[in-house]
Symmetry: C2
Subunit: 486 residues, 2 copies
């Protein structure tokens, strides 16, 4: 308790209780301790049993030495300093900027005016049009600029959509468990109900329609006004990648129950197995086959520059596309986003670059492809290295990597270890994650931060950190912990 | 009414009523029409009685041809493409980058790692430390990095603070009228009470302590839990600049009633008359004189790269400093901002450049000073040109320009004009603003968008548009309108 509460207006007991309730473990106590260790390591005699902190808790590729894509950053440098465009010969002959870099920068500058100016509230018109063209190509179905809203990363898009959907404390939103905790945190802040549905670990964390139906039925019976369903595909924290059939089944259920689908598709390019099936693309096919049944399905699909292969988190760029949303509701979304003026304009430009990269035959294509493929195969390689290590670890189970940036293995701890956790006042998976950090400097997130079936234990790790040596450190720690509490 | 509501889950009657209630006129119907005109003007025979749209409705300097500061944008170009730093000789000898540009870019890159990586939730540590040093210099009192939170412009800072403060529908926040409508919009969304207090137009829109006391007393009597007071200094939309005595009086009242002070100080460099008195600086002096009385005053002061002289709106950079806030409450603020991960990192870097520009004797200083002073004097010149024009207009009253980017003149319309407005279903000031746009292409915001005393009429105009020719267009329109409805 604060000792000064009586003197101040605000104290822990009287501030917004909905903010207090919100949980966001990805940047919680464990992450704070890892930052303290990082600070400690800069000192000469740090006294720690490791020499570096590995932040496997956050999907933050460029913190972990992933290099940005040259084409993107060259264009952005010109947007920040358009005066450079007056020296084309220097750019081309001495700095290696290709002509398509210059052309794209000029086009973007024409579109946004200055990256220092507010754009229109939902984003610069030319960029929205470019995204529409990308979606048409991706899905083979029409898309319109007016339905596209630029956002500060996907997070702010999720917040916007939930602000519109959540009308009363009875409003419920179906959220997968385990989930990226943004969803439950936003629902807490908005004083709405999270209606959890469990993903099926035995089917590599795919959606389980029976579980969704059960969760829906139970919530409705309890008086909850279930309005929407969140799907994260590829999955976070699970790494699952849904089949077209899974996507269809969700749409079918949403159509039947009139649920707004929130499709978090920020990992759409991070698929190692099979292919990505966009909700929009699958929905349009279903609408063609049975317009009456599916034409009024409401869908919002989110994407971001933070994830994918390019990992430009710090630029806070993203967008969502609305499908089938009532025009009057869309007007309210427009007004709501206008209150925060507009998404960062340089981030908007980066969205445009991401969805419209150099094409084959264009001057920057070769380098772009080389860099892009290099990042992709690095991710895949590390994902499988981790997976192989997990397979060999006692009491650890993990499905084959499919997509996104994460693995979410099950761990089994002995009763003695669980007892030790209890003594420290932590859940067993948190206890495990703290022990891992203290012993190795590797920071992961305990499964309880995402939700998990009662009695089961997990942790989420990214596979972003360079090299695979650190994977061995996890295996060594695990063996020692198992031995200690055998 | 939507005709398809029964088929869809979301319709205008069942979405979040708090979002529906929120009003934000700065980007409302008038602004939308102005964008339509802008589009129409690109056609050969546009049929409009003007050849350009002048957006005097939004404080968006770089949309209106204000040039960015060279030093800032040179540094940002290097942050976006650090590979350029490998060609120092080209940068220096052929592109005119000075050595302090290179040094600053290297320092910022060391601090943030990559602008494509998430920073720590409240911002990059080195940037927070730099802001603390700036505040120490500005106020002559200590400041600490731990109390500084980077935000996506000041708007997201305001939203964060109100999210913490607003606990129940009874929570009230004192808001000046007229006000920048972000405050009322956020309070609507958060289902809290706006407690309006009127600024004193007869004293050039200064604060009127009696009005504040009256509003407070009335609200408390009605059962409102008044917790905070918003001050915008220099004023938006009023352009007022507060004296040290006015600031003191507000702090004194806040101390007595235990109100959190939210000091919106985004126009702190835009002062044409007298000088800017920061709430933090004045508070610290009062604390020295009477610690017992003032040591527990809670203050949040906001700043932004969007306004000031530099006008870098599109970069969405800003910060707030907390003073006297309970540490446990501050932990909740930390958690809340972590849910949206971090403010745009390139915007954070721009904040650092803004508060730590080149110093006298440094290579980039001369050009920086020349550009900065040029923008300042341009703003001042246009402010006074508008002021002089308003003085000559029938039934228009306007105080002498003091600060910010706005003038907020009173207009007096004839009963016949008010009748005509009624017929169009508009308030008289909206009617006036639409007529002005239709006749001249100049877009302002009607006073009702900010709040005004019943029966009084105003509009807000920025003084950002280049040149002063357009000022004459307003005068001509005004005369014709007065004649039409005499």
């Amino acid at each position: 308790m604060s000792t000064t509460a009586p003197l101040r207006r605000l104290n822990i007991d009287n501030i917004n209780p909905r903010v207090k309730e919100a949980k966001y473990a990805v940047r919680g106590e464990l992450a704070v301790r890892s930052e303290e260790y990082r600070e400690q390591l800069t000192k000469d005699s740090h006294g720690l049993p490791f020499d570096e902190v590995i932040s496997a808790n956050i999907g933050n590729p460029q913190q972990l030495d992933q290099k940005p894509i040259t084409f993107f950053r060259q264009v952005l440098s010109l947007l920040e300093n358009p005066a450079l465009l007056e020296k084309e010969d220097v750019l081309v002959n001495q700095l290696g900027y290709k002509t398509d870099v210059l052309e794209r920068a000029k086009w973007l500058l024409k579109t946004v005016g200055s990256v220092g100016a507010y754009s229109a509230s939902p984003g610069a018109t030319g960029i929205r049009e470019s995204i529409a063209r990308f979606l048409e190509q991706r899905d083979g179905h029409s898309a319109e600029a007016k339905d596209i809203y630029l956002s500060a990363g996907a997070s702010s898009g999720v917040s916007t959509l939930l602000h519109i959907i959540c009308a009363t404390p009875k409003t419920g939103v179906l959220v997968p468990i385990p989930q990226y905790p943004l969803y439950t945190a936003c629902l807490s802040v908005l004083d709405a109900q999270c209606v959890p549905y469990y993903l099926d670990e035995s089917k590599n964390w795919g959606t389980d329609l029976e579980a969704i139906k059960g969760a829906y039925k139970e919530a409705v019976a309890a008086g909850t006004d279930v309005r929407a369903i969140v799907i994260i595909n590829p999955g976070n924290p699970t790494g699952a990648s849904l089949s077209a059939e899974d996507v269809k089944a969700v749409i079918d259920f949403a159509a039947e129950k009139k649920l707004v689908i929130m499709a978090d598709e920020v990992y759409q390019t991070n698929v190692f197995k099979g292919k990505f099936h966009s909700f929009k693309g699958v929905l349009r096919e279903m609408q063609k086959a049975d317009p009456k049944k599916y034409n009024h399905v409401e869908l919002a699909s989110l994407h971001s520059v933070s994830k994918g292969i390019i990992g430009e988190c710090g630029h806070r760029g993203g967008y969502f596309e609305l499908v089938g949303i009532d025009p009057e509701v869309q007007e309210q979304i427009y007004k709501f986003v206008s209150i925060s003026l507009c998404a960062p304009v340089i981030g908007q430009c980066l969205v445009e670059l991401m969805i419209n990269p150099p094409k084959e035959g264009e001057p920057s294509y070769e380098l772009y492809k080389q860099e892009y493929d290099g990042i992709f195969s690095g991710l895949e390689k590390r994902a499988f290295a981790l997976y192989e290590a997990f397979k060999d670890m006692e009491g650890v189970e993990c499905g084959e990597p499919q997509g996104s940036m994460y693995l979410f293995p099950t761990i089994t701890l002995s009763p003695k270890a669980i007892e030790a956790a209890k003594k420290e006042g932590r859940s067993p998976d948190e206890f495990y994650a703290f022990r891992l950090l203290d012993a190795t400097g590797i920071c992961v997130v305990a499964g309880s931060g995402f939700g998990q079936k009662a009695g089961s234990l997990h942790f989420r790790t990214t596979f972003l950190a360079p090299g695979t040596e650190w994977v061995g450190r996890i295996a060594k720690f695990h063996k020692e912990l198992m031995d200690e509490f055998r």
